[in-house]
Amino acid sequence: MASYPYLFLIPLLPLLSAAFYGVFGLKVHRRFGEKAVHWPAVLLPWGSFLVSAIGLVTLASLHGEHAALHQSVWSWIHIGALQVDLAFLMDPLSAVMAVVVSLVGSLIHVYSIGYMKGDRSYWRYFSYLNLFMFSMLVLVLADNFLFMFVGWEGVGLCSYLLIAFWYTDREKAAAGMKAFVVNRVGDYGFTVGLLVLFWGLLGVVGATSLNFHEVQQLVNAPGMADRLVQVGLPTAVCLLFFLGATGKSAQIPLYVWLPDAMAGPTPVSALIHAATMVTAGVYMVARVHFLFALSPTAMTVVAVVGALTALFAATIGLFQHDIKKVLAYSTVSQLGFMFMAVGVGAWWVGIFHLVTHAFFKACLFLGSGSVILGCHHEQDMRRLGGLGKLMPWTAASYLLSCFAIAGFPLFSGFFSKDEILWQTFDSATLLVPGTLLWGIGAVAALCTSFYMFRSYYLTFSGTYRGGAAQQQGTGEEAGHKMAAAKASGPDASPLGHPGQGHGHTLPRESPKNMTIVLAVLAFFAVVAGFVGLPHLWHLPNLFEHWLAPVFEAASQGLANAGYGAGVEWTLMAISVVIALAGFFLARWLYRDERNPIPRRLLEQGSPFIRGLHRVVYNKYYVDEAYQVAFVDRATGLASMLAWFDDHVVDGLVNLAGAIGRFFGRIQGAIDLYFVDGLVNLLARTFLVVGKQFRTIQTGRVQSYVYGVMAGSGLLIVILLLVV
């Protein structure tokens, strides 16, 4: 492993900016304006990108299986068996991730300049965003599980902070909280998985580590894999890690936070909740692929959960009205595809889809952000429309990305998604037939194509419905909503930029820095696929080749069903048909308002259809079920335990105190009435007797002398009598 002393710069540069603006941001913003905030905050991530890119090039010049750059900054925790450094590792996998993250991240920083313009907390936004870059880069570049966990939780934190960015809105704040807590459930799995792995290795192999490469070496040591499988270690560890991945990557059952996360600013949704952070789970599975490879059970679980999520989320996406919600469910669905890929052992495909998805989904989100900005924070597609003419750049990039995500031939999504479906179909490693998963994936792909184009047509074609809605009676509600949005003050939303009038003027195209970013991303969305051409075409697959040193060893152990080229050609054709079918269906239904079928279907459809729609529209009531099953339980348990603590545990203490007091009282009573009573009795006796004797007590000394003498005489008499 080659040492490369500049790796630490990649995460450090954004961190510097984040720390600086976190501490001094408010003052800088107030004193020097927005430019002073965004120039350094935007340039430093570009610096990260530059260093990553140089690293990538340097890496490319190395050869062999262990081609990797490494840098250890300092010892982090060295206790006993735990030897963990703050160390960075750039192998082909993390190099790809680092470059994509820093590129997309930097682009979105640029985009944010326009999007966040005029926001009261401009500095805070860039500070958080930089912090996110830091965390994400740590996540991908860490050379051990524990350090990776720093980034893992760090991105969760940033996600929380950015979702709740407009925190004066309690719902948005709550969405952030939900994201963090749900992620934390996943982290529970990750943590426990870490423990099991660490001690399991020590128990079985006799040595242990949390370093990726060392763990891989230990696992791959001759004969060890079988012994590990025998004790079921890989399955346990992988399932626990996968729980972590479902949290971070919004898979069933922990996907619920992602749609709510759209409460954050749209660039954030693009960066965190589409392009980078949510793919961390996929990356993590790819990272520990050598363990997954040992456990067909775990792989099956991953693939099945991925497939189900893909379908499940895609169906929800069909009927959403909020453009960002559509994209959110689409993200969940696409993540499901990626998990299908890594679940069937086609890790490089998963990463491939991750990369292409990062481009086109970021582009889609940023496009939606451009729309939202242009339409005064209107997200409901029923009140958009016809924007294609008004916002040509946005519309064009959005359309290109739709082609990409739907899997139109030669667009990037086509290569990655098609490869996933093929690999799934061809897989024989799983405990379920690959063809079944392929079927699910194909349906999901159809849904994807449909709802993406639905969103495109609803937004960009037809006529603009936003301004008109104000005059219509049916738009009453919308009017209130907008008024409310404005009333919530400057901090609640970035409304009120100069140049973005408050009036109901027609939407206009976003500023240059945003459209350029859209264009760049759209370009990548179109062409990124060419690095990973199918084998079928007998063209070099650069991407697979690049990642081969990482995955090669593990993928040899996997079995293929061995379908021939003919089958693959067929599947590819089916994919194209699916994409086209979705496209045409959506175009037919939604290209303009003329087609009455959707409305009629809803208004006059059978109760079944309406019921189905309602269920799907309400996301199958999963949130509500979770609320009842977990949140209410937890809070109920909490108040119960608090009551218990207050009344039983503390009650016992107070009872002990009370018993003490009670006995004290009894003793007091005894003291008062018995002990003291005796004394008083004695005293009273003396008093009474004394009163009688008082007559004797003359106070004259002489009398006393008589007494003394009488006593002496008595004594003498007694003495005489006795002796």
């Binding site: 002489q702 008589y706 003498m709 005489g713």
Partner: protein, 195 residues
Amino acid sequence: MQVQVIGAIVFWALAILTVAGAALVAFSRNIVHSAFGLLAAFFGVAGLFVFLSADFVGMVQLLVYVGGVVVLFLFAVMLTGRIEQVEISNLSRGPLPALAVLIGTVAVLAVVAFQTPWGPSGDMAAEPTTAAIGNALLSQYLLPFEIASVLLVAALIGSVLLASRRKEDELEDQATAEATDQPGDPPAAGPGGEP
């Protein structure tokens, strides 16, 4: 023989003087007479001490009692009453019970004195004991001696204090508790502190 007879005569004379003085103290109606009886008794006792070859104690008896205490009594008598008022030492209670006590006590003690076998007469030489007493006081009895001196000083001071005329109106004790602290420093204004 001769010496013995003379000694006996002197003894009896001293004994009679002592007892007679004591009787005078007890029975005289005039307190001044009582005081003089006391003088006689003290003198007799001093002689008896000398007779008992306790010459130093006898001298002390003479100095302290005859020279000091009796004078003190006379002063007290004179300061507390008029000399002419002879009735001042009236019997307050019937003398008979007191007489009974007197006789009883003396009788009992006499019986004891006569009946107890006192053993052989001591053979203490009739020589001056002053030196021996001095030695004993400064060695074996040093502590009681010192304590006694302290006691005397205390008695001296005490009696002076008691006997001296006290000022009627002593100034009131002005030592009151120090004026309590000023309540608090002026309120500091907090940043942005508005009610």
